[in-house]
Amino acid sequence: MRCRLGVKHLQPMCFILFWQIFMNDDQQNDPFLSLSNAGLYRGNRWLVRGVDLEVRRGEIVTLVGPNGSGKTTTARLALGIVKPDEGTVTRAENCQIAYVPQRFEIDWSLPLKVERLMRLTASPTNKAMYDALEATGVAHLANSEVGHLSGGEFQRVLLARALARNPDLLVLDEPVQGVDFAGEVALYQLISKLRDQLNCGILLISHDLHVVMAATDRVVCLNGHICCQGTPQSVSENPEYLSLFGKKAAQTMAVYEHSHDHTHLPDGTVQHADGSISENCHPDDGHHDHSHGSTKPKKPENRDAG
């Protein structure tokens, strides 16, 4: 009797063990994308050099850095648009990639409607297409000509186009450029929701420190090379980051390194965990019951950044 039970359970146990050892390691921890010591040399200078970077499934990695620090170059290397002059770039096999480039012009001579743009590199079903447009709030523009869209509308359409590809790896280069503030917050929320829904890896480029950090798992701070990388919290305390962006930016970022117990509503008010709504989210207003991740005591002026 005992013996029978043992045999009966051996197979599933072995299977679970096997699953945990092999499948989990392979699928969850192997990065979709990895850059190792990658560098690109153009016009007698290194645009970026020595970039080590990994993006895994279900992870949002954000590239920050000043103008000309090589954020877009790093993204182009990651996407295989350019080949590195040094180091290696590897992407997982059969990895479905979607790219949202920075705003670009579409020549007037090309008649292109939004719904045709959605089918540019893939053939999504009508439902997938409209769901994606709906998600970014531009379903009503499906029949508009792309050249007539405003900057923010175009950006939302580009994001929808990327979503409709159902990507494993999503690369976003300043995805909220030209989007109004309420929309910006909503789009970033959408991006982090997508990460969970699609279980995809996201490489995000932004100079928009304070909004981005809320959803980011890892920050990579670039300035021709990688200054530092890690959680938003650890990066914000790194001396190289401080010298690059100044103390103010670091404080901005530190504010966002806490467990989220409140939501910023589109009209600017704040909904707290207990369901109440207030004008702001000051930590000492009685709605909060959490500690900020920062090891340093909070200075009063930090609150304004929240």
Binding site: R76, L79, G80, I81, I97, A98, Y99, P101, F104, I106, D107, S109, L110, P111, L112, K113, R116, L117, L120, T121, A122, R165, V171
Partner: protein, 266 residues
Amino acid sequence: MLDDFFIRAMLAGLGIAVIAGPLGCLIVWRRLSYFGDTLSHSALLGVALALAFEINVIFAVFCVAALISIVVLLLQDNTALPSDAILGLLSHASLALGLVCLSLMTWLRVDLMSFLLGDILAVSRTDLLIIFAGDATVLALLLFLWKPLLAGTVNSELARAEGMAVDRNRLAFMLLMALTVAIAMKIVGVLLITALLIIPATAVRRFSRSPEQMALLSVIAGLAAVAIGLFSSLEWDTPAGPSIVVAAAAIFITGQLTGTLLGRQS
């Protein structure tokens, strides 16, 4: 029926209009009209080589145009020269070289005008066969490459990032243009090939709602231009190529006027 030179010319012209439509659209969208000029100017060098080595003219023109497009790609990728300077250099150098070569072959009596402006009388049955075979090749390849070509036209970085072979398609597109130049040269002539590619496409832009529709409409505009041009060429004894291009320009103007009037009414 094919014994009649006019029928042969008409079939050849219509055959060219069919491929000039979609190809011309891509040229307009990609702002490559100057590239088209460069290829067609190099055609004269092809003619000179064909006469010197006694090979088929269309074949020789295709080879020279293909060679020129590869040189353009190499120069664009490997030098800091601006694109229009590269095209200007190759365009006029190859045209001049072609003229010099033709004049050196003193044993030949070449009617230069027929190459520059097209020769309606010169379309043989073999030419017709080559034109239709070329047509089929260009159309099949365009159909096959349409999606990646269009994606590369909208944004080449995006297309490349999402797994489309942009470089391969760019080369394929240039070779298609070389082939079109080679088979169109006999009808419209070296100087006016680009016009037959570009004018129908621009004429129908304002009536088009999608890239595919624009390609289709420009085929229709091109067919009409060829038919009207060749009939008027026969009627008034004008050179074939210029007559077709004048007809295309007339279609363009009519389209613009109609579009403006319709736009005002609605």
